[in-house]
């Protein structure tokens, strides 16, 4: 058992912290207010290597482990969860999915530009009537012999407008139910693809979320990922890894809110002393610290299992469910500690609270995680 980080892991954490505090934090309130995509920052994240952290250097990635990824995600999420979700989707859904399940030709064509951040990716699974229940895909990919013809609508797509490479999940053989589903690599500028309205979200407002419509979109056969019918399994496997990213994002929201609360309660005075000296506040801080530490340990455990080639689905579900739920609790308490100041935008914690809510919903709600966890427990 060893809880020490390597020198490189610490350097990555510090680099992410410097970037987040020095650059992302500067305009995060304005971007959140006006739902502005962080174009400039995404470019810097690409240059620093944060968009393809775990991809093989052969394809332009940084070749880092998942522990480093968790450390970087936590630091970036403390400052800006919108930038963090762009990073998470690109790394642990799109790049991971391609690295792990695509053939060499697909990797050559799509992975390199995604890993270097020259292009960013989006993962299109959710539908108007298929969110948590991903087995019932209404989007169809009809096998036309030479090509697939895709029709349907995808919902809540992170980076839908800014991404240029999509991974799309669609039904090819409805009679085979989820075993008939396929996953495809689709370029956004393919004729027949259109975007719905920009979603006006409660939090993570600086990431662009849209629905995406497919009308008779012709996809070359070679863009299918894996064997015919592999799509559902592909999506589930990729989401297992994606959860580590979102868990680390939730962890960053919680630890960021805690750090702000500690600082504020040491400065703010009430009844003749700093509010940290009041036990009601001090105990809130203690509760936050225990929750944050637990969430961090769960995230790192899931990352460690993944790095060591061990099964990590249970650990990543636990990390995602716990970190998301405590992110909601800790950010809410942070607003309470800040009092009126916590309710205004200047102090950031209200934003962290709005952002935390989404971590309980996307990439598998907390309830879905509990299904995964309990089914694993009851399987034998």
């Amino acid at each position: 058992m060893n809880f020490d980080f390597t020198e490189e892991q610490l350097m990555i954490r510090d680099a992410a912290r410097d970037f987040a505090q020095r650059e992302l934090l500067q305009d995060v309130i304005e971007r959140d207010n006006n739902a502005i995509f962080p174009t400039k920052h995404v470019k810097t994240m690409a240059e620093l290597g944060f968009l393809g952290m775990m991809v093989d250097p052969k394809y332009g990635g940084a070749g880092m482990d998942s522990i480093s990824y968790v450390l970087a995600m936590e630091e970036i999420s403390k400052a800006d969860a919108s930038a963090a979700v762009i990073m998470s989707v690109n790394n642990s859904l799109v790049c991971y999915g391609i690295s792990k399940y695509c053939n060499d030709a697909q990797k050559e064509k799509y992975l390199a530009p995604l890993a270097t951040g020259e292009k960013i990716g989006a993962f299109l699974l959710s539908e108007p009537e298929a969110g948590s229940d991903a087995t019932h895909q209404h989007t169809t990919a009809e096998d036309k012999g030479d090509y697939y013809l895709v029709n349907g609508t995808k919902n809540w797509i992170t980076s839908a407008n800014s991404a240029s490479i999509y991974i799309v999940i669609a039904q090819t053989h409805p009679d085979k139910k989820h075993r008939g589903i396929n996953a495809f690599l689709i370029e956004k500028d393919t004729p027949g693809i259109s975007l719905g309205q920009h979603e006006d979200k409660m939090g993570m407002r600086s990431s662009d979320t849209h629905s995406v419509m497919f009308t008779d979109v012709k996809i070359p056969k070679e863009n299918r990922i894996g064997e015919d019918g592999f799509g559902f399994k592909f999506a589930m496997k990729v989401l297992e890894a994606g959860r580590i990213g979102i868990a680390a994002q939730a962890l960053g929201l919680a630890s960021g809110a805690m750090e702000r609360s500690i600082q504020y309660s040491k400065e703010r005075k009430a009844f003749g002393t700093e509010i940290a000296n009041h036990q009601s506040i001090a105990f809130k801080l203690a509760d936050m610290a225990v929750k944050v530490e637990n969430a961090r340990n769960l995230c790192l455990k899931a990352a460690w299992l993944k790095d060591n080639g061990k099964p990590f689905a249970l650990a990543s579900s636990m990390a995602k469910q716990y970190a998301a739920d405590i992110a909601m609790e800790v950010t809410t308490e942070a607003v309470q500690i800040h009092g009126g100041y916590g309710y205004v935008k200047e102090y950031h914690v209200e934003r962290l609270m709005r952002e935390a809510k989404l971590t309980q919903i996307y990439e598998g709600t907390s309830e879905i995680q509990k299904i995964v966890i309990s089914r694993t427990l009851l399987r034998d």
Binding site: E8, M11, I12, R22, G49, F50, P57, M64
Partner: protein, 249 residues
């Protein structure tokens, strides 16, 4: 052309300073170590010069005097972009000794520009850069806030009271740089971090240097006094207190 940056391993600027052993030693327990901020800016500027030189600047090296425990700080400099590093294997807080060790280590290496931060953020001695120049017999300019290479010469700007002055110097040359030399230190990229361990880090034995100074004791500044609030209408009392209590007027 080769550029050398002298870097110091210093406590993070937010470190809570404590002393041990009867106030004769700085307590290093739990301290996070960083590249001295001025040196980090110097490194950033050197890398900018290398990148814009079209190959004229072939190499940016860093050197530090310190034990093995300073190597993470050296590797951070390599991760940021330095090509190689030298560590003189000695522990010293004495500027004369440090400057001597650096000068001895690089005297035959043919560096064209040697850059040192104006001071280190721990002991604030402001002495090493000037001494290195002296020991190597090289021209030097202190308090440099901008540095360029034009037609084989260095052009530097230094801030002076009420203005600034521009100077040129032949090479080789020592620049002692301050804030402004680069706007912000460069953040290491993931690729840089992965490469850092693969870059040469040469450890060399220290030359014999007589130790001429010794730290006797340290003292912390007095704790900040509580803030006294005075009614804005009562200017007389403010002036009176500034005169009798704060004794600043």
């Amino acid at each position: 052309m080769k550029i050398l940056i002298c870097i110091s391993n210093v406590p993070d600027t937010t470190t809570k300073i404590r002393f041990v052993d009867d106030n004769t030693k700085f307590d290093i327990n739990g301290v996070q170590w960083i590249i001295n901020p001025w040196d980090e800016l110097a490194l950033t500027r050197a890398l900018q010069l290398k990148e814009s030189s079209g190959g004229a600047v072939e190499k940016v090296s860093v050197i530090t005097v310190g034990p093995k425990s300073v190597e993470p700080t050296i590797r951070k400099a390599l991760a940021i972009g330095a090509d190689d590093a030298i560590r003189v294997d000695a522990e010293s807080e004495d500027a004369y000794e440090v400057a001597n060790l650096i000068a001895d280590a690089v005297k035959d290496e043919g560096y064209d520009i040697i850059i040192a931060g104006i001071e280190s953020s721990d002991y604030n001695g402001s002495a090493v850069g000037g001494m290195v120049a002296e020991f190597l017999g090289l021209p030097s300019v202190s308090a440099v806030s901008s540095l360029d290479i034009e037609n084989g010469e260095v052009v530097v700007k230094r801030e002076i009271d009420g203005g600034s002055e521009v100077m040129t110097s032949q090479l080789p040359f020592v620049a002692i740089v301050q804030k402004g030399i680069a706007l912000e230190p460069r953040i290491p990229s993931m690729r840089g971090i992965m490469m850092a361990r693969k870059k040469p880090l040469n450890v060399i034995e220290p030359a014999e240097v007589p130790l001429m100074t010794e730290y006797v004791s340290y003292e912390l500044p007095p704790a900040k006094a509580a803030c006294k609030m005075i009614d804005p209408e009562n200017v007389k009392e403010l002036v009176n207190l500034l005169h009798t209590e704060a004794k600043v007027i």
